[in-house]
């Protein structure tokens, strides 16, 4: 195994983490969009907002991390992808800006009209980014990116495979988000929301499964070599993905939620790794660009590997801390919620001076 292979694995792992963590945040936007207007539909929005708020920025950094690894380790392939697929990538970037800004702005607004505007911006752009990211991955998988790309191509990302892949990404994000939200609702003892997101998780699971099969079928025509590997050496992962999906649907139906989020994430990860294993060691299908000849010398690759080890030691514990605080509901602005039992019963260390003080004007 060469250094390039290791870095290829790191990149795939980074993509996986972005998909299962960042993807779920985008999926939250999908359910916000579909929640319907008006006060009756406030509950899902509040739940979605509570679960995304403290973590979305940290989850989003995986994308930046992936881009950096990609351009550092495989600069030739990076330049080719960014050139050929400039249009969907611009649109994905626009979605990222609008999603983040819309989400952050909505919190601070109090006028319903402006909350609607920013909320719809957040929700719609949450669909835009995964969709166009999906078309990008689909375009790469079908071999639509030439090695020495000099111009953007419309055909590259509007093939049936690429478009199906775009829809698959949206469905997968919605699926992950719904499954996570079922768990979140259950932890809060909110039966109505638990049932609400259970139905949606099941529907999204079926849709994502169907789209996966459709994308696979489309690949049969657009990139037979990759299809052969997906049904060949990557078959165990493809099967694992299917098993995970079915398991989640069944467990949801049975109302057993233990470990269900992990299984859902594993299913999505299996799809990504199935693609990676099937395509290995080609980086841009249809070209001679492989992991080992895409541009960076060994010095750079070794530096990336060391950097990633350091990164994991630093950010791993930090992420665990963030998620634990979040799951114990120690983060957030909701004052009505009760503290979980895990926290000592006495009130937080008094920031006495101001906590005890009477609010100014309320």
């Amino acid at each position: 195994m060469t250094a390039a292979d290791v870095v290829g694995g790191i990149l795939l792992a980074g993509i996986t983490l972005y998909a299962v963590l960042g993807g779920a945040d985008f999926g939250g936007g999908l359910w916000d969009l579909l929640a319907g207007p008006g006060p009756r539909h406030l509950a899902p929005r509040v739940l979605i907002d509570d679960s995304i708020t403290p973590v979305w920025e940290a989850n989003h950094v995986w994308l930046v991390f992936d881009l950096v690894i990609f351009w550092t380790a495989f600069p030739h392939a990076f330049a080719a992808v960014m050139t050929t697929l400039a249009v969907p990538l611009w649109l994905a970037a626009a979605g990222i800006v609008l999603r983040g800004a819309g989400f952050a702005f909505r919190k601070e607004l109090t006028e319903v009209r402006w909350r609607r505007v920013t909320g719809i911006t957040f929700a719609l752009s949450s669909l835009v980014t995964p969709f166009f990211m999906g078309t990008v991955i689909g375009a790469i998988a079908t071999g639509a990116v030439p090695a020495n790309a000099s111009h953007a191509s419309l055909a590259a990302w509007t093939s049936a495979t690429a478009l199906l892949s775009g829809f698959l990404f949206v469905a997968a994000c919605g699926y992950l988000a719904a499954v996570y939200l079922v768990g979140e609702a259950a932890r809060r003892g909110d039966r109505r929301m638990r049932a609400y997101f259970t139905r949606r998780a099941q529907a999204a699971a079926i849709l994502a499964g169907a789209l996966s099969l459709a994308t696979l079928a489309a690949l049969h025509g657009s990139n037979p070599a990759l299809y052969d590997q997906l049904t060949g050496r990557a078959l165990p992962l493809v099967v694992l993905a299917g098993v995970c999906g079915l398991a989640v649907v069944t467990l949801l139906a049975a109302g057993r939620l233990t470990g269900i989020r992990g299984i859902a994430a594993l299913g999505v990860a299996a799809v990504i790794w199935g693609w990676g294993v099937a395509q290995y060691s080609v980086l841009l299908p249809g070209t001679a660009v492989t992991l080992s000849n895409a541009g960076a010398p060994d010095d750079t690759l070794v530096a990336i590997i060391v950097l990633v080890i350091v990164a994991l030691l630093l950010i791993g514990p930090a992420f665990i801390l963030l998620y634990r605080l979040q799951s114990r509901r120690l983060l957030g602005t909701d004052e009505a919620a009760t503290l979980p039992a895990a926290v000592p019963a006495d009130p937080p260390e008094p920031r006495a001076s101001h906590d005890a003080r009477k609010p100014q004007a309320s």
């Binding site: 950096v68 990076f78 960014m82 919190k107 960076a296 602005t333 503290l339 004007a361």
Partner: protein, 471 residues
């Protein structure tokens, strides 16, 4: 913060193809993001300072300021994170030639930056949303990594930009990078002065901006302790760092005279290599003449080598095609930056003098008007500095190794994306400012206004605790 994901390849125009719109777009997105980046680098430290005073002295006002700034930081961090990501995309979308040739070299500092971006975002999630439930000092400590990683992340990004000015640390054969010494890339020659210059700039921009907001309030007659403290917490660090910045900037200019003499020549209107070079204050260079400037004989030679006989390299040492475009823009931006820097120094000295003799801040309205403008002045100075270094490096993207034209995308339609970016960022910037102003109004009213809002999440109330958290 955050998102300090920026390499500084900038503006002005020349050459054909997509270079001009690509540069204009990079300039727009970067010029926008860099303001948020400054706030991301330095605002956490100022918020932590306020919270520290609040916790230590049980000072309600300081605590209230910390909470309010933290809420504003929530908005700024989000906008900074997403606009920084746009720059990551643009590295490939606008400059595929640069990434193809040098991605393997300049990628490493970006990777280091990635770690700090992670830490910043993770601890921002804890700090910004931990006000209600985390115990006081634990909450304070959760903010420390944000302040540290803001600075370290900025250093990593500046490593890339300074590498573009003084590239090194790699070997190249037939256009292929064959070996990279990553730490030589990171700590390249220009890094020694670019890094402190930008970090100080970030602290000045943030400090003066914060101070400016409260100075404007004081001008309108809000002379309460809240406004005084808000002003002081921003103003004092920024004013203290201003003379340091002037020293660093002066050192940097001298280093540029050695590292990038043509850039320096453009900054100072040195057309021919010579001794006893005059210093031009202002003035527009057209048709080999300077119109309207103030000429100080021998001053430039003095500044470069501490003696009037010092030889200063002119732009005549390279053929016209290798000289930066629009020399007057570079020179005037340089003068504006330096002039504003000294103006900010004067405001600080004024406050110092008043404190020295009267133990209080100046009472004159002129002082408060100047202080209210200090934030805008610091931002302007910082933006001008980036124009100087970026336009001054042209026509190169990697100094003497790759031209900006060779780095730019060949894709058409950059004009279209540029237009959308300008419109989109104008809306984004306006919305950010409107929302911050709205927050300020709500804080003044004591945020009694938000009742149940029937759409979206519960209203954010980090500004004021409505009641003690139940347990």
């Amino acid at each position: 913060m955050t998102r300090v994901n920026d390499v500084m390849l900038l503006a002005a125009s020349r050459a054909g193809g997509e270079v001009v719109p690509a540069r204009a777009q990079m300039a727009t997105t970067l010029g926008f993001h860099i303001i948020l980046a400054c706030l991301g680098i330095a605002l956490p430290a100022i918020v932590l300072l306020a919270e520290f005073i609040g916790l230590r002295r049980r000072d309600e006002t300081a605590m209230r300021l910390a909470r309010h700034w933290s809420q504003a930081m929530g908005v700024l961090v989000a906008v900074g994170a997403v606009t920084g990501t746009v720059l990551s995309f643009e590295m490939g979308l606008l400059w595929p030639g640069l990434m193809r040739a040098y991605g393997a070299v300049l990628g490493f500092p970006f990777g280091v930056e990635g770690i700090f971006f992670f830490l910043e975002a993770i601890f921002a999630g804890i700090y910004l949303w931990g006000w209600r439930r985390l115990p006081g000092w634990a909450h304070w400590w959760s903010g420390v990594p944000i302040a540290l990683s803001g600075v370290l992340g900025a250093i990593s990004v500046i490593a890339v930009n300074s590498w573009m000015n003084t590239p090194g640390g790699f070997t190249q054969q037939d256009g292929q990078i064959t070996a990279v010494k990553v730490w030589q890339v990171f700590f390249n020659h220009a890094a020694a002065y670019e890094m402190p210059h930008m970090i100080l700039a970030a602290y000045m921009v943030t400090g003066f901006t914060v101070a400016g907001v409260y100075a404007a309030g004081i001008l309108r007659g809000r002379r309460d302790r809240y406004h005084q403290a808000g002003f002081a917490l921003g103003f004092v660090p920024a004013a203290v760092l201003t003379p340091v910045q002037i020293f660093v900037g002066d050192t940097a200019a001298r280093a540029i005279a050695a590292d990038q003499p043509v850039k320096f020549a453009a900054m100072e209107y040195v057309a021919r290599t010579s001794r006893q070079v005059p210093e031009w204050l202002g003035g527009v260079y057209v048709n080999r003449r300077v119109y309207g400037g103030l000429k100080i004989p021998d001053m430039d030679s003095l500044l470069v080598g501490f003696g009037p006989g010092t030889q200063v390299t002119g732009w005549d040492t390279v053929p016209p095609a290798q000289r930066p475009p629009v020399v007057w823009l570079i020179h005037l931006c340089f003068d504006v930056m330096v002039g504003l820097g000294f103006g900010l120094l004067l405001i600080g000295l004024w406050a110092l003098a008043a404190w020295w003799w009267r133990r209080r801040l100046p009472a004159q309205r002129v002082f408060w008007a100047a202080a209210a403008a200090s934030g805008a002045a610091a931002i302007m100075a910082m933006e001008c500095g980036w124009v100087v270094t970026e336009v001054g490096r042209q026509p190169w993207v990697v100094y003497r190794l790759q031209t900006t034209a060779a780095a730019a995308t060949a894709n058409g339609g950059v004009i279209a994306s540029l237009t959308l970016v300008i419109v989109g960022y104008a809306v984004l910037g306006a919305a950010t400012i409107v929302i911050l102003r709205m927050l300020a109004r709500r804080w003044r009213r004591g945020e009694a206004a938000e009742a149940a809002v029937p759409y979206g999440p519960r209203p954010v109330r980090t500004g004021e605790p409505a009641s003690r958290p139940k347990s």
